[in-house]
Symmetry: C2
Subunit: 229 residues, 2 copies
């Protein structure tokens, strides 16, 4: 069991790689490793976070509750991503809930380690800034997609996204299995609509399913659908 941040490979994927040896050591000494079971929250909307969570394993959905009682999933975060950064930097309660969609292993890093380094190590700050710039661009893309594409297109796009970002298992099913409700919360539609469209895709031979698992059968047609043909 690898328990020192200095030796943690995950670090290479996020802004922690810009930390100095000493800073990392400090982080490692103060961090707490936690396991989170599927369905359990890491934190919830409105929480005041005392640190950030570095994802070592598993996948989390970041969602926000809307006035009508439905969750909107804003992002899916996987290994290497750091959750709660925005909230710690802005010194605000978090605007999102983070809930595990798979069993997870995360490292809690107290905010002092982060804020100290932010003030002293410009490379680290810049690295964090770059990550946030990337997130912001992705958020802009989501806005455009959600407002200008039909539900059908958004669902097709979601499947392609899942394949490209989380891959497939040996049998050709998407490695990340989401419930129909989660899918509908990603694309921002009613669960029934999502189910209906999934059935339609199955009938048309675009995908195949086995229980909750979904496999992509005709990627090209899905791409065409996303692009509006």
């Amino acid at each position: 069991m690898e328990s020192r941040c200095e030796n943690c490979i995950i670090r290479q994927f996020n802004s922690l790689r810009a930390m100095s040896k000493e800073e990392l050591k400090h982080v490692s000494d103060s961090k707490i490793t936690k396991t989170v079971k599927k369905g359990e929250p890491i934190f919830e909307e409105g929480d005041k976070l005392n640190g950030v969570y570095c994802v070592r394993n598993g996948i989390s959905k970041l969602s926000k509750l809307s006035a009508n009682g439905k969750d909107q999933i804003v992002k899916l975060a996987t290994k290497g991503e750091v959750l709660g950064q925005r909230s710690v930097i802005a010194e605000e309660t978090t605007n999102l809930s983070a809930i595990a969609v798979q069993d997870m292993e995360v490292c809690f890093i107290p905010k002092e380690s982060i804020t100290n380094t932010l003030q002293k190590n410009p490379n680290f700050t810049l690295e964090v800034l770059r990550h946030m710039a990337h997130d912001l661009k992705e958020a802009d893309d989501v806005i455009v997609n959600i407002s200008q594409k039909t539900v059908k297109q958004r669902i097709a796009e979601a499947f392609l996204y899942l394949k490209n970002n989380f891959g497939e298992d040996e049998e050709g099913f998407l490695a990340l299995t989401l419930s129909r409700e989660d899918i509908s919360n990603v694309v921002g539609t009613a669960t029934e609509s999502a189910i209906r469209i999934i059935s339609e895709f199955k009938k048309k031979g675009l995908i195949h399913t086995s229980g909750k698992k979904i496999g992509i059968k005709d990627e090209r047609k899905l791409v065409e659908m996303v692009e509006g043909f």
Copy 2:
């Protein structure tokens, strides 16, 4: 005519305030002040930006073209905001177009001044980071609103937003007058739908209009509508 950044009040509202005297001097020496007429672009989606633009006056819409040929307005930027930061930091072409919706005065700041300072002045970097964290949160909110609220609710919300952020003129009309098309691009709907709903609001006495100008008449009802009553 105030032309030195050191003396520019606008600076107090953005991350430039975290710059040192010398850094500001350098920025001031290298900046170029431009005027942009209503309807003209400051930059367009896909441009490689050689710097950022600090808004001294006027308002710009930040938009992105979707596959179906419609623009989606992602943000309205006013006095004090810095445009193009994300793109310069991520060293990518810009993902958004910035077009003036009012006559504007902007200062172009070459990216070297920015990137140099980012590497040397952690306070500045942190300040930029805070601003971006704020933008990201706002983007999350937009995602939830657009996907979970009806067009009617989003239009009501847009009017309230315009009032709160840009104020009203002496006669009680919203100070920022947008075309019906821009309004529809803010809320992500067809222009005809936006027009229809505006007419409906007028009939119900929620707003009054005079040409393109729109004034809020019954703010409480609008708020209730946004919240789903």
